[in-house]
C-alpha cells in the first residue's frame, strides 16, 4: 500500500508543526511564564462549589477555600440532592464559617444547572468555581485576580495538580496534567485557551451572564463555557504560578469513564459551534479546527493501526501455519536485522524531540510547583498512556451515537 508512507509523513508534519509552535511560543515567553499581573483593585469574589455525594472530600475542600489568602465574599455550596453525608457535613461547617451558604436542590439537576442556580445567588464581581474534590492553593485567587484588570478577560484558570499520586495511574495523570497546564499557558499567549477546568476557574460574573451561564446539555460544562466565552470574544487567561490540587481517578475504569465524558463533551462542543468554523478569529480558525483535527487524526491513526495489526496477525498466523507444514524454522537470526527506513528515522527524531520538550516542561514546573516525577514514567506515558486516547475517542463517538450521555 503505497499510500501509507504519505499518511505517516502527513502525521509527522503535523506533529512537528505543533512541536515547533509550542517551542517557539515558549522561547519567546520563557522569562514571563510564571508572571502574573499585580493589581491594586479589590475584586469581590464568590465561590461556587457544586456537590453531589462528596462526603469524603467536601470538608477539606471548604476548609482550603476558607484558608485562601484573599478576602472571600461568600462560598456557595450547591448540594445536588446528595444521598450520603454531604448535607450533614455542610450544616456542621456552616456553623463555623459564616460566609458559607448552602443551596439544596430538591432534585438532582447535574453540575451545570447547579452552577447556574448558584450563579443567581452569587453577589460578587468574580465567581470562582471549584469542584468539591479539589483544593485551591492559598495564593491562587490573589495571583489570578490581576488578570481581570483587562476588561476583556472573562475567565482565568490555573494548573490542576494531582493530589493522589501514590498509584501508578495517579503518577501518569500527574505528568499529563502538568503537560496540559504548561501547554495551556503557551496557548494563552495566542489567546487559544479552550478549557478552564472544573477544579478551579475564576470567572467574571458579567461574562458568565453574557454567555448565558453553563450549558446543562453538555457533558463537560467547563469546556463548553470556555468555548462559549471564546465565541463571544471574552479572553481566557492562565496563571501558571499557582494551582489547585484535585483528586484524580485511582482506577483504570474511573479514568476511562472520565475520559469518555471529556471526549463526548468535546464532540458536543464541535457540533454546537460548527457554524463558527473558519470564522471568529482564533476560535474558528484554531480552536475548533484543532479539536476536529485531533479527533480525525486519532480515528484515522487508530484505523491504520488496526489495519496493520490485523494484517500482521493474519500474516504471522499464515506464516506459522506454512512453516509447520514445511517443517522449517519459524524465526532465524536475520529476522531481527532491521533496515531502517526514513520514516523510522523521522519517528525516532520526533519522539526524542517530544520527549525533550516534555522533560523541559516538567523540569520547569518541578521547580515552580514542587512536583517530582519518576523519569521512567515519562516514556511509558508517551508510548502507552497516550495510545489509549484514540480508543477512548472511538468509544466516545459510539456512545454519542447511541445516546449514552450520562456521566454519573
Amino acid at each position: 500500500m503505497r499510500l501509507l508512507p504519505y499518511v505517516y509523513l502527513a502525521y509527522m508534519f503535523l506533529s512537528l508543526y505543533f512541536l515547533m509552535m509550542f517551542l517557539m511560543i515558549y522561547l519567546r515567553n520563557m522569562k514571563k511564564m510564571f508572571s502574573y499581573p499585580e493589581t491594586k483593585k479589590k475584586y469581590s469574589v464568590s465561590f461556587l462549589v457544586p456537590a453531589w455525594n462528596e462526603q469524603d472530600t467536601i470538608e477539606n475542600s471548604i476548609k482550603d477555600i476558607e484558608n485562601i489568602d484573599y478576602e472571600i465574599n461568600e462560598i456557595i455550596v450547591i448540594n445536588d440532592k446528595s444521598s450520603d453525608k454531604t448535607p450533614e457535613i455542610l450544616k456542621r461547617l456552616a456553623k463555623n464559617y459564616p460566609n458559607l451558604r448552602i443551596i439544596n436542590n430538591e432534585k438532582n439537576l447535574g453540575k451545570a444547572e447547579s452552577l447556574n442556580r448558584g450563579l443567581k445567588f452569587a453577589k460578587s464581581e468574580l465567581i470562582a468555581v471549584v469542584d468539591a474534590d479539589s483544593y485551591p492553593v492559598a495564593d491562587s485567587i490573589k495571583k489570578m485576580v490581576g488578570f481581570f484588570d483587562d476588561e476583556k478577560v472573562g475567565v482565568v484558570t490555573c494548573p490542576v495538580l494531582v493530589r493522589n499520586r501514590d498509584k501508578f495511574i495517579g503518577k501518569l495523570q500527574a505528568i499529563e496534567y502538568q503537560i496540559i497546564s504548561f501547554s495551556r499557558k503557551l496557548l494563552d499567549y495566542v489567546d487559544a485557551i479552550y478549557v478552564t477546568p472544573g477544579p478551579l476557574a475564576l470567572y467574571r460574573k458579567r461574562a458568565l451572564e453574557d454567555v448565558g451561564g453553563f450549558d446543562k446539555r453538555n457533558m463537560t460544562e467547563d469546556i463548553e463555557v470556555t468555548w462559549n466565552l471564546a465565541h463571544n470574544r471574552w479572553r481566557r487567561r492562565m496563571c501558571l504560578s499557582t494551582g489547585v490540587f484535585s483528586t484524580a481517578p485511582e482506577k483504570f475504569r474511573g479514568w476511562f469513564r472520565q475520559r469518555i465524558r471529556w471526549n463526548i463533551g468535546g464532540l458536543q462542543c464541535i457540533y454546537k459551534y460548527r457554524k463558527s468554523l473558519f470564522k471568529e478569529g482564533i476560535f474558528g480558525w484554531f480552536i475548533i479546527p484543532l479539536f476536529i483535527l485531533s479527533t480525525f487524526l486519532g480515528l484515522v491513526g487508530l484505523a491504520i493501526f488496526s489495519y496493520l495489526l490485523t494484517r500482521r496477525t493474519i500474516s504471522n498466523f499464515l506464516y506459522t501455519k506454512y512453516s509447520i507444514v514445511a517443517n522449517t524454522s519459524l524465526i532465524v537470526l536475520e529476522d531481527f536485522y532491521i533496515t531502517p527506513s526514513i520514516l523510522n528515522y523521522f519517528g525516532v527524531i520526533l519522539f526524542i524531540f517530544g520527549l525533550i520538550l516534555t522533560l523541559i516542561m516538567l523540569s520547569i514546573l518541578k521547580e515552580k510547583v514542587f512536583v517530582r516525577e519518576n523519569l521512567l514514567n515519562i516514556p511509558f506515558f508517551m508510548l502507552i498512556y497516550l495510545s489509549f486516547y484514540p480508543i477512548i475517542m472511538l468509544i466516545s463517538i459510539g456512545d454519542m451515537i447511541v445516546g449514552k450521555r450520562t456521566w454519573r
Partner: protein
C-alpha cells in the same frame, strides 16, 4: 501583546516546512545512496556476466572449458543470490523514491540470463549441478502468498546452505513484465497465476509447500 504573538502560527509553519523539507531531502539522499549501492553491485555482476559470455565466445562454440565455466557460473549465481538479499532489505525500507523497483527489474533480467546460461552449461557439459529457480509474485501479492513466499524463501535458503555448490539457486520475480522472464516461464510451462513456483532442473515444478528434505529428494 496577544495579537502580535499570533504570527507564531505561520512562523512555525515556515520552520516546519524547512525542517521537514530538510528531512525529506536527507531521506531522498539516504534512499539514493542505497539505490547507488545496489546499482554498483549490479554493474559489477553485469560485468561478470559479460565477461563469462565473452570468455565463451572467444573460446569458440566447439570448445568449452566446462570445469572453469561451471565454477564461474556458480560463483556468479552465489553473488547474484547474495545481492538479491541486499536488494530485498533495501526494498523493504524504501519509502520515497521507488527507484529500487527498477533495479529489481534489471536484476531479474540478469537472473534470466543466468538461468539460460545454467541450462546451456548443464546440456553441453553434462554438469551435475542443479538449477533451482524460484519464481515469485512481486507485484502486490496477497497476504497468503506473502506468507507462502516467506516460507519458500526460508526452505530454499536452508537448501542452499546445505547443498552449497551443488545447486544454482535463482530467485526471480515472475510478474515484472519482462519479456525474457516471460519467455523462460512460457518455455517451462509456468504461468503467473500459479506463482510462487520452484522449478528444479526445468522439469520438476513445485507449487505446494514441502519441507527442504522433500525438495532435496528431487535433486
Amino acid at each position: 501583546m496577544l495579537t502580535s504573538q499570533k504570527h507564531v502560527f505561520w512562523q512555525a509553519l515556515i520552520v516546519t516546512v524547512l525542517l521537514f523539507g530538510a528531512g525529506i531531502f536527507m531521506g531522498i539522499i539516504l534512499e539514493n545512496w542505497r539505490v547507488n549501492r545496489v546499482d554498483y553491485l549490479y554493474r559489477q555482476s553485469e560485468i561478470l556476466l559479460l565477461d563469462l559470455r565473452a570468455h565463451g565466445e572467444i573460446a569458440g562454440s566447439t570448445y568449452i572449458d566446462c570445469e572453469t565455466s561451471i565454477a564461474q557460473n556458480l560463483v556468479f549465481a552465489d553473488r547474484v543470490f547474495s545481492e538479491a538479499e541486499t536488494l530485498a532489505k533495501y526494498e523493504g525500507a524504501e519509502r520515497l523514491s521507488g527507484e529500487l523497483e527498477l533495479e529489481h527489474k534489471k536484476y531479474d533480467v540478469l537472473r534470466a540470463l543466468l538461468w539460460s546460461r545454467s541450462i546451456e552449461l548443464r546440456k553441453k557439459c553434462k554438469a551435475d549441478f542443479h538449477n533451482v529457480v524460484y519464481i515469485y509474485d512481486y507485484d502486490e501479492p496477497t497476504l497468503e502468498i506473502v506468507a507462502k513466499q516467506g516460507v519458500f524463501s526460508r526452505i530454499l535458503s536452508e537448501l542452499k546452505e546445505k547443498r552449497g555448490g551443488d545447486i544454482v539457486l535463482i530467485p526471480m520475480a515472475g510478474d515484472n513484465n519482462l519479456s525474457s522472464v516471460s519467455l523462460m516461464m512460457e518455455l517451462y510451462n509456468v504461468s503467473e497465476e500459479e506463482l510462487p513456483v520452484i522449478l528444479i532442473d526445468e522439469g520438476v515444478k513445485i507449487t505446494e509447500l514441502q519441507s527442504s528434505e522433500e525438495i532435496e529428494e528431487f535433486l
